[in-house]
Subunit: 332 residues, 2 copies
DNA sequence: GTGAAAGCGCTAACAG
DNA sequence: CTGTTAGCGCTTTCAC
């Protein structure tokens, strides 16, 4: 029982017919291209006709004609990372909008990086912005071949063929671990979240901890932890005597802190715990959580970079904007 | 406009040429339509040619041809709401993918609902899924006129012209407030977050609290609170003697609890506080936070509904899947 | 100041 | 079993 008949979706040809002009004129008027070309009277007629018909332009047709869409794609998993990131995304979206682009979070969950990249490439986005683990050289190659102008990776190491926004996940681990070691901790645990999409970041942060520990006579152990109270409690109950913890981020760190407290292990007395992201819950926790602050400002600059790369594709380059800073509080 | 020659993006015509077949055959092979129509040998040749050229189909062309895209659009602001929602989105994305749809979080920040709806309509999505405040009747009308098959609203009241997924924000407030009142609280505060995108929800939740308070001799006061420690502290310092609080959600509730504790106001002794969402931080807080649990299960069912509505548009209907449940803990 | 017309890449009748 | 072909709606050159 198809409820409503497909209403005749108005096309620019319909608008042209109603306004008594050609489709070309409609295009000129509605896009404000070639300013003084169409007379004011005609413009008004066209506008009125479009209004009357409820005309909405067809992005697919425009994209087909232009050879690319005005979409800027990011993986949606990014959004799930936390408040820090989602607030920043909002700024980025705003900034891109001012250049005429539409930020789209694409939930491309596929078998592997290349499958995901293919799904993205099909949309012929103007730009793709993604963390390194997803942008393998093959994926970058595929995107370029499909005509994506700007491929921007965020990660620790420059990605061949792509512009890279350096964001050293390792640095998070390194800063926190160096601090823990300086505080005299010698048996470090690194929480490894089991949650989707986080494993790649966790591995890099762990590498940073290892870097800081190197040659210091410090033992580093990755410890899996799901974001789940029972899991945390089980871990705390069979605590293997680590005296320092880097908690992946504030969420996981706080979870562990509470579990340790629950089983009578003092923080920071028995165990010092540091997180990352410097979010509000950590700041107001007791003890207040030592954390690594990530300065994700510069959404405007990033939007400008994206625009520049789209306009004139350049050789792969490297931009370094993300600043990090250790914030020492009571948990270490 | 383009400064450099675009790399030769392979089209289906290129694949056809290389494989020595027609474009139609390429289409049949790569889409697996009409099985048994093309010989195995030809299929293999086509596949090899596509592979060799790095062929990626063009979604815009397909959408233009099909009259609609395979996109399911949601406002991206939804993603920023919290872990509860973003986890659920991940499930939804997965479920939709199995039907061949692509979930896209669209950061359409525009002047008003109609402008945003227009931006969505341009993409000719198969379906749009959005909370009621954004889907005014005019916006729904616009989407339908543009040919969007399934328009699904989530909110407390059925939206004319759209399928509505009933999600009574008020119920959150009502459940929490009824509980507070039962506990003997008579001067209730309702936290009203100032953050972007949350005000509409906050207003509905407040309405729910008012509903519960009606005729009970209970005073209800909306209290603005930004998600910010200083703001919370200032509020706590000049606490106007409320004895019960509904905190919008767990995040804001926890923030206030900490601020109240900081200024020596006992929770729940002096002030009882309830939140919503039943997230982990509230469960492990001290005192553990009373909350309203929202059961957002059914991503699979929703995906099925979306698919059904796209396949055969039906009269606007109402679906009621979201269950809510008060979880009483120590903070009240 | 305005219109005609050529495609962009794809799918699906229809012909062979 | 495979090919030919007609558009989907839009922009933009070129001609009037």
């Amino acid at each position: 029982m198809s409820g409503r008949p497909d209403p005749a979706r108005a096309t620019s040809a319909d608008v042209a017919r109603l306004a008594g002009v050609s489709r070309a004129t409609v295009s000129f008027v509605l896009n404000d291209t070639e300013p003084g070309r169409v007379s004011d009277a005609t413009r008004a007629r066209v506008r009125a006709a479009a209004e009357q018909l409820g005309y909405v332009s067809n992005a697919a047709a425009r994209a087909l004609r232009a050879g690319r869409s005005n979409l800027v794609l990011m993986p949606a998993t990014q959004a799930a990372i936390g408040r820090l990131v989602s607030d920043w995304l909002d700024d980025l979206q705003q900034a891109l909008h001012e250049y005429g682009y539409t930020l789209v979070l694409h939930g491309g969950r596929g078998a592997g990086p290349v499958e995901v990249a293919r799904a993205w490439a099909e949309m012929r986005p103007a730009a793709v912005l993604a963390p390194v683990p997803g942008l393998t050289p093959a994926a970058v190659e595929l995107l370029h071949t499909a005509g994506v102008r700007a491929v921007i990776a965020t990660g620790g190491e420059p990605v061949p063929g792509a512009h890279t926004l350096i964001f050293r996940q390792e640095e998070l681990g390194r800063l926190a671990a160096a601090h823990l070691i300086e505080r005299g901790r010698r048996r470090l645990a690194v929480l490894m979240p089991g949650e989707r999409g986080l494993d790649a970041f966790a591995a890099e942060r762990l590498a940073g901890v290892r870097l800081a520990a190197e040659g210091q006579g410090v033992e580093v152990t990755p410890v899996p932890l799901r974001y789940d109270w029972d899991d945390a409690l089980a871990l705390a109950r069979s605590w293997p005597g680590f005296d320092g913890v880097f908690g992946y981020n504030d969420d996981y760190a706080l979870l562990l802190v509470r579990a340790l407290q629950e089983v009578g292990l003092e923080v920071p007395g028995a165990v010092a715990v540091a997180g990352a992201d410097d979010l509000l819950p950590g700041r107001i926790a007791r003890p207040a959580l030592t954390s690594v602050r990530i300065d994700l400002s510069g959404a405007g600059e990033l939007a400008a970079l994206v625009h520049r790369l789209i306009e004139e594709p350049a050789e792969a380059g490297v931009v370094d904007t993300v600043r990090m800073q250790l914030i020492v509080r009571d948990s270490t």
